[in-house]
Symmetry: C2
Subunit: 333 residues, 2 copies
């Protein structure tokens, strides 16, 4: 009898689809350029979330446009025409020693981080955007802004992008003028305002790690309240559904890239809620694909419907565990 | 010509109603027992939010049941049968030197505070609840739990309340067995799950200060992101409307007690969204009442409808300012 690992590896080149042939796009979350190879090795169809932070960490000076560009080009070329979604700077100020530090930030998760920090340090942001644009000639590059909480903030980010395009034009450097621009849905206000945001971007990715934190008002790294932090909370299921339904209504692609999307426990639920693209850590790719290939879309829908009726995260988890165990008794949860 | 203050004071004993006679209940937010008199002086119909934290502050030992009781009795008797909504402990651990401090709480607003802290220190919580129950024989006392984020948490709080009732029964002490129990709606998950919570409590109060913080992922005390913090954000308007609509659908009373409810700028909007009870700082009572008495419910509905169509907090504020200035040109905003 083959080990689970060996059996999973046979799935690598098979399509990610349910038993009746309903296709799911599986993309990878990566942090370092070298991980692009890992995505291909696991049969992933692209990079759904390229976290570009490593360029800023482990150093005290500002990364140059060339350094950004080299990293982005490497990933883009490695992915050979497959989509690569590059998320712009998503750090707290405390991680960037090259900029002035905010004093007394008591709640950094509710503070100057991510897109807010980028919009405060526009030069740094524009440098990154120029590099992403330059890499766009090498493949299917897309730009994604994190932590957007209102429409004006998104437009400000798009204006900095327009400035970066202008810079390149002046320098006579080629880039994809039709580059797709998306945003993360990870602040509750963004979910609530999806019908507005669909007019402003080309695609969405639900970031459950932060969304869960804000929706439940829980810092997931705080052990005193860790029990409250869970993607299985009924409110999270509803917020995810609200985001998907709003994107669907406007025919805008939406995916998910938090930890929830890479956990086989949630795969049937997420497909049933309507997600057709999941971005997962490459290590989880084959397990998620196996769930997809073992189930039907119809069953996923009934799982989602039932899960939405449950009143607590505990009940949701118990139910999803039972369903997964029934489907794949050997799947570790 | 009378000063604005003098004219406002003439409103004190007039009912809070719109021009066509649509009644709004105006209640007061207080912190100290002595402020009950202020509520009566401003013609308020009760206490919509009694913040009981002062008993825990400025001391290092645990307040006794008698100390709690004395404070609660004083307010209850002063209010002479009018409703008094007592909110249970709503502090962060950092404010309570009598309990062990959590180590390394990096994001205290997303941490061990409020009902979470109370449920971790059940003895302290139960002492407070016994005192509130004892005060209930002196008037119309109601209990309100803050920062509820899921249904099980609410049920745990109610279980501690049931224990406190049992304590009193064993001691043969009288209390209102039918005491009304409510919760604050201030975590996004609570808004999203309102249709569940309506089955679990007698009333709701929307706490906009925290709701805005979590919905927008902004610490309002952080000046670097203060510009993002505003009750006028379109997502906040929608969340408030969602909460009101869900409470209305279940015929459960809902009020609001954050800063938004005491700002005349928002009065027409909030009435138009369907709120019939506002709990305000006593200092704002007459200004809010004047808005109510100057407008019509129909106009408030059109203001709310228009505000909900706007795309940014800036537009909402501009619009509400224009409306208020048109209604009351001498009202400072
Ligand atoms: Mg995030
Ligand atoms: Mg609060």
């Amino acid at each position: 009898q083959l080990s689970l690992m060996a059996r999973l590896s046979t799935l690598k080149d098979l399509p990610c689809e349910t038993r009746e042939g309903y296709r799911i796009s599986l993309l990878g979350n990566i942090e370092f350029p070298s991980e692009a190879a890992l995505c291909l090795d696991r049969g992933l169809e692209g990079v759904g979330l390229y976290r570009t932070e490593f360029l800023y960490l482990t150093r005290t000076d500002i990364p140059t446009e060339e350094e950004h560009y080299e990293a982005y080009r490497e990933v883009t070329i490695a992915m050979g025409g497959r989509p690569v979604v590059m998320r712009t700077l998503d750090l707290g100020a405390d991680k960037l020693s090259m900029i002035p530090q905010p004093e007394d930030e008591n709640n950094p998760f509710l503070g100057l981080r991510s897109i807010r920090l980028a919009l405060k340090h526009v030069d740094l942001f524009r440098t990154q955007l120029r590099a992403i644009l330059r890499a766009s000639v090498h493949g299917d590059v897309r730009i994604m802004f994190p932590l957007i909480s209102n429409v004006l903030e998104l437009r400000r980010a798009r204006m900095v992008l327009a400035d970066a395009m202008e810079d390149l034009e002046e320098r006579g450097i080629a880039f994809d003028r039709e580059i797709k621009v998306g945003m993360m849905v990870e602040v509750p206000s963004a979910v609530v305002m999806m019908d507005r945001f669909v007019e402003e971007v080309d695609f969405f990715s639900i970031g459950t790690n932060d969304l869960v934190q804000y929706a439940l008002a829980v810092d997931r790294s705080n052990k005193d309240v860790a029990a409250l932090y869970t993607s299985a909370d009924p409110s999270v299921l509803r917020l995810v559904k609200m985001a998907i339904d709003a994107a669907d209504a406007a025919d805008k692609p939406i995916s998910m890239c938090g930890q929830m999307s890479g956990a086989p426990l949630y795969t049937m639920l997420l497909i049933g809620l309507g997600l057709r693209t999941l971005s997962v850590t490459p290590a989880a790719a084959l397990e998620v694909k196996r769930v997809c290939r073992s189930t039907t879309f119809e069953h996923c829908q009934s799982v989602a419907q039932r899960a939405l009726e449950l009143e607590s995260a505990r009940d949701v988890k118990t139910y999803l565990r039972e369903e997964l165990q029934r489907l794949l008794p050997d799947q570790p949860i």
